[in-house]
Structure formats: structure tokens, C-alpha cells
């Protein structure tokens, strides 16, 4: 993640849960943050990376980047919008 210029305020790992808990866990983590803060969400390839970014977008948050960790996981960088 060193290549990207984001100030990560918090991290959440959702690789240990399955749909629909993946999104719920990310959502709960976002709720802890303040408007404008940035969360890094680590998720598995496959269904999570196909669906979680869109669900977070539909909640109104701003997606900045999806980073391929090259180990079967991805990290989604999300800026929280609203309280």
C-alpha cells in the first residue's frame, strides 16, 4: 500500500467472514469513523470483492481505490461520507 497516498484512519479485516457479514462488518467499522475519515477494508477475492465495494457505494460512502494485495486479498480504501 506504500505506493498510494492515503492517510488511513482505521483498518478492518473482513476476510474471516462470509456474505452478508462481510458488508455488515465493513459497515460497522465505517460507523465508528467521522465524516471524511478513511477506512481500509481487507477482503477476499471472489464474491466479497465483487459485491462489497458496490454495497459501500450504495450506502453513500466514497470509494477511492481497490488495491490488489497479490495474495488472494484486496484492500478497499473508503472515505466515510456522513455521520
Amino acid at each position: 500500500m506504500a505506493d498510494f497516498d492515503f492517510n488511513i484512519d482505521d483498518n478492518v479485516d473482513i476476510t474471516d467472514v462470509v456474505c452478508p457479514t462481510t458488508f455488515v462488518k465493513a459497515k460497522v467499522a465505517l460507523e465508528e469513523l467521522d465524516d471524511g475519515q478513511i477506512l481500509a477494508v481487507k477482503m477476499n477475492d471472489g464474491e466479497p470483492v465483487q459485491n462489497v465495494p458496490r454495497s459501500i457505494k450504495e450506502e453513500g460512502h466514497q470509494i477511492l481505490k481497490l488495491i490488489n494485495n497479490e495474495d488472494g486479498t484486496y484492500t478497499l480504501i473508503v472515505k466515510k461520507v456522513g455521520d
Binding site: 477475492d45 465483487q50 465495494p53 458496490r54 457505494k57 481505490k65 481497490l66 488495491i67 484486496y74
Partner: protein, 286 residues
């Protein structure tokens, strides 16, 4: 007076095992009923039936145990709640639909509006055999479009809009058909792989896609005594006028070519799918 079962059946009165009892099929469009309609249906089922209703496999409601002598009274009572009998037999049947884009986040088209339009255009139209329309909003296919004589599936045709793209990479992963490749910050869509699901556009944080919401139409599906999947014989349809012209042409072809009691699939098999495809492509290109 002899009972005219054909007329009764046309009006949605399905003969039951129990003599002089009918299961009354109601006209439901796109699977939606208002609370007022539901209340009236409940009242009629209590008063004239045995207090229960049956939900059919194609989104209709039937009220069983209606007595032959009560038919006029039942029809009048239902009319007060904006409910009317449906149809059975050799004609255009209930137009079914999923909730579509008006309700469902996955929907690509307004399925209910389209169901109403098709219902107004064709409902109960007499044909050589039954003819079913089904409308599903997206590739998830909750409404099983290809089971129908004519199935309509919503889709979104996408074109990348570079100026709004933040290069986040979400679309490449959202795509389930591997149609998207990101190369040197450019997004390349392989149109031969795109199935118009619209997931790239829906997942995109900036919606950096120009989109056309349209229709994938399949012909000749059936799922009864014989089972066959409807086939999409023509390309993606980009506007509703063209969709309606295609539906008109398909129904005309069926009316002109089908033998009595022959489903659309078997007409296509007998007369020739090529002949039908040629005709429908003329309309598509016309």
C-alpha cells in the same frame, strides 16, 4: 342450462375436482397488488370461497371453492376493489415481472411499467395456444425470463467515460464475465464477453460510464410437459419502441404459423427458427 366451461375458463374460472366449484384466477400484472385489492380478495375468499387463496406459479392469485351460482356476484364484489378475473386457455397470459429498477438495486429496467404496458397491449389476446411473457430486471434472472414464450431481461450497455474515472479498479473485479481489463490506466471492455449486467456501472464510485438501458429478448421458452430454454435470437435492444415492434412481430408470427395447441417453441421448430429469426431481424434492423 349447460355450463359453458370454455367461456368460464377464459374468464379465469378453473374447474375443480369438486363438482360445481371453481378456482377463480385473478388478473395480476407484474406480481403487484394494492392493499385495497388484497383486502377485497380476502373478503371475497371469506364470503364466497372457503377462506383461503392460492398463489399460482406465475404470480397470480386464485380463490378456490367459488360456486357456479355465485359467479356474477363474485365478479361484482371483486370489481369494487379494482380486481377482475384473469385468463386461462389459448391466449396471452399473465405478464409476470420481478420488482425491477423501481425497487431493486440490481434492476436495469422498470419491469412493472413494462409489464403494465404489455398487459394493456396483449392481455387475453386469442392465439393458437397459451403465450407467456415474463420480464426480469437483470442478469440475476429472478423472474426466469427464458421459461417464457417471450422473455425480456433488462440489461445495461456500457461505454467507459475516461474523464470521470478515478482508476480505482473496482469495475474490473465487479465484472463477473472478465470483460474488463485495465491497462495503463485505460479501461478496455471486451464487448464479446459483456453480458450487459451493468455491475461495472453500478459498482463504479463515480459512475464513469455512458449507459443505455435496454432489453435482451428470448423466444420459445417453456417449462411444463416439455422443458426448453428460450433463445435470444437477436442482439441487445436499445429502445422500447423497437422492443414493442419485436413483441408484435413475434406474436404475429405465432398467430400466423402455429397449429392449434402448439406452443411457440414447437412452431419455431416446425416452421424453422431461421425463418423466424430472419423476420425478427428485419424488424430489429428496420
Amino acid at each position: 342450462m349447460a355450463v359453458d366451461y370454455a367461456t368460464l375458463k377464459k374468464g379465469g374460472f378453473m374447474r375443480q375436482k369438486q363438482k360445481n366449484n371453481f378456482s377463480l384466477r385473478l388478473r395480476v400484472v407484474g406480481g403487484n397488488l394494492t392493499a385495497v385489492q388484497l383486502a377485497k380478495i380476502a373478503e371475497v375468499a371469506e364470503k364466497f370461497g372457503d377462506g383461503h387463496v392460492h398463489l399460482t406459479s406465475r404470480q397470480s392469485v386464485e380463490i378456490p371453492f367459488i360456486k357456479l351460482d355465485d359467479i356474477d356476484e363474485v365478479k361484482a364484489a371483486l370489481a369494487e376493489g379494482g380486481v377482475e378475473p384473469g385468463v386461462c386457455g389459448p391466449r396471452v397470459r399473465t405478464v409476470t415481472a420481478c420488482q425491477g429498477e423501481a425497487i431493486c438495486p440490481s434492476g436495469c429496467i422498470d419491469t412493472y411499467a413494462l409489464a403494465k404496458e404489455l398487459d394493456e397491449r396483449y392481455f387475453a389476446r386469442e392465439l393458437p395456444h397459451k403465450f407467456k411473457f415474463g420480464i426480469t430486471g437483470c442478469q440475476n434472472n429472478c423472474l426466469k425470463a427464458e421459461e417464457n414464450d417471450l422473455g425480456i431481461k433488462g440489461g445495461i450497455k456500457v461505454k467507459w467515460r475516461e474523464s470521470d474515472c478515478i482508476n480505482c479498479g473496482v469495475c474490473e473485479k465487479a465484472c463477473r464475465t472478465n470483460a474488463i481489463e485495465i491497462k495503463d490506466g485505460k479501461i478496455i471492455v471486451d464487448e464479446s464477453k459483456c453480458n450487459f449486467c451493468g455491475r461495472c456501472y453500478k459498482a463504479c464510485p463515480t459512475e464513469a460510464w455512458d449507459t443505455v438501458h435496454g432489453y435482451i429478448v428470448s423466444f420459445g421458452g417453456l417449462f411444463g410437459n416439455s422443458i426448453s430454454k428460450g433463445e435470444a435470437l437477436i442482439p441487445f435492444i436499445e429502445d422500447k419502441e423497437k422492443l414493442m415492434a419485436v413483441c408484435d412481430a413475434a406474436i404475429e408470427f405465432f398467430a400466423e404459423n402455429a397449429n392449434p395447441g402448439e406452443r411457440f417453441k414447437f412452431t419455431l421448430d416446425r416452421v424453422g427458427k431461421d425463418k423466424f429469426t430472419k423476420k425478427i431481424l428485419e424488424v430489429y434492423n428496420g
